[in-house]
């Protein structure tokens, strides 16, 4: 199994949205993350979220740095205002149903098996998940 490093390729997309290169949908993604964290904190009667752990696949439209930036703004005046955002990058892993794991890393994305030409399956790399939160223990 091998990972395809796409983050830099996806970073290049940022500028094409126009002269304003602020994170765009990362803002709504950050807000969704905080909403999920807030709901979980409420369920355990906590008002202080200290860590929010995210799993972010390499093969998504979300840029890590843009998400971190958006999170800083979105967490203000919420129960996550002092929370640290931990991002685990999930590598993109490809597999051929016939030949097995793709072991030759491609320089650019290619979802066709280099050996037999069948379409490759994306095993991981599309994750955009809140894994867990850590909250202050209730005294």
């Amino acid at each position: 199994m091998t990972s395809i490093f796409l983050s830099s390729a996806l970073d290049g997309q940022r500028g094409s949205l126009g002269s304003d290169s602020r994170p765009m949908h990362e803002v709504s993604i950050a807000q969704s993350i905080i909403e999920i964290a807030e709901a979980s904190a409420r369920r355990v009667n906590s008002r202080c979220v200290q860590v929010i752990k995210i799993r972010l696949g390499e093969f998504t439209t979300v840029v890590r740095e843009a998400l971190e930036f958006a999170f800083e703004a979105a967490r203000q005046e919420t129960v996550a205002k002092d929370a640290r955002l931990e991002i685990e990058t999930v590598p993109m892993v490809l597999r051929c149903a016939s030949c097995g794991p793709v072991t030759d890393p491609a320089r650019e994305l290619c979802l066709v098996c280099p050996q037999c030409g069948l379409p490759l399956e994306v095993i991981s790399g599309e994750e955009l998940q809140v894994d867990y939160i850590e909250v202050a223990s209730e005294a």
């Binding site: 796409l6 390729a9 996806l10 290049g12 997309q13 094409s16 949205l17 765009m24 949908h25 709504s28 993604i29 969704s32 993350i33 909403e35 999920i36 964290a37 979980s40 904190a41 369920r43 355990v44 906590s46 200290q50 860590v51 995210i54 093969f59 998504t60 439209t61 979300v62 650019e108 994305l109 290619c110 979802l111 066709v112 069948l118 379409p119 490759l120 994306v122 955009l128 998940q129 809140v130 894994d131 867990y132 939160i133 850590e134 909250v135 202050a136 223990s137």
Partner: protein, 226 residues
């Protein structure tokens, strides 16, 4: 510190609304297209050609998404098709909630085809399920042969890729075969059409495919009801 396990998709809320939208569309037997592209690739032109080709035979309507103006909506209405404009302000993509809200004011009963023309953007819309049956991505030849490799998530998630402005390949010094190869490498399963909305080349093949999709959708909806 206490750890609380969540393991929830960040876009779960959008997914739930999208699934509700999808159930509504399936109940009506309506084929719904989420039409996406970079700004200026030719989504509205493709829509115009599609309306011209299908009107009179099928009931179709359009939901338009733009940051500003209703200029695209006006073009659609000029062809006699119903159109509903969503103006997002600064939001760079449509999401399922916006479509659900539109559906409270814009009835889709009796429609064979609903096209949702998304905001011109090859990044953000790829992440937001609207409840569509088909994702159609338009890429103009003038954008360069490398486009699919630069925006792989969008092209990977497409059911159909329409390569527009084929008549400009020479003037843009872009190799159409290279562009098509790049599409197929990023998405081996997509159905690809090479067209020019301006000259009409390739549009018949797209219309025939779309008609067949509408017909088979109709048949499976009727089978489910009986």
């Amino acid at each position: 510190m206490d750890r609380v396990s969540i393991q929830t998709n960040v876009l779960k809320a959008n997914q739930e609304v999208a699934s509700a939208n999808r159930r509504l569309f399936e109940g009506e037997g309506t084929v719904v297209i989420n039409l996406m592209s970079a700004p200026g690739a030719g989504k509205t032109s493709l829509l115009e050609a599609t309306i011209r080709g299908l009107r009179g035979r099928y009931f179709l309507a359009v939901i338009e998404g733009d940051l500003q103006t209703d200029l695209d909506s006006q073009r659609i209405r000029a062809l006699g098709a119903r159109s509903y404009q969503i103006t997002t302000g600064t939001v760079c993509h449509l999401d399922a909630r916006m479509i659900a809200r539109a559906l409270t004011e814009f009835p889709v009963q009796g429609l064979d085809l609903l096209v949702i023309e998304n905001v011109g953007n090859l990044i953000c819309p790829a992440s937001y399920d609207l409840g569509e049956s088909l994702r159609v991505v338009v890429c103009s030849v003038a954008e360069g042969a490398e486009k699919p490799k630069k925006y792989p998530v969008m092209f990977y998630k497409a059911d159909v890729v329409i390569l527009n402005k084929a008549d400009l390949a020479g003037a843009s010094a872009v190799d159409l075969r290279e562009l098509e190869t790049n599409v197929r490498q990023v998405n081996p399963k997509a159905t690809v059409f090479v067209v020019s909305c301006r000259t009409g080349v390739g549009i018949d093949a797209w219309l025939m495919w779309l008609q067949s999709a509408i017909e088979s959708h109709r048949i499976s909806a009727e089978t489910q009801r009986s």
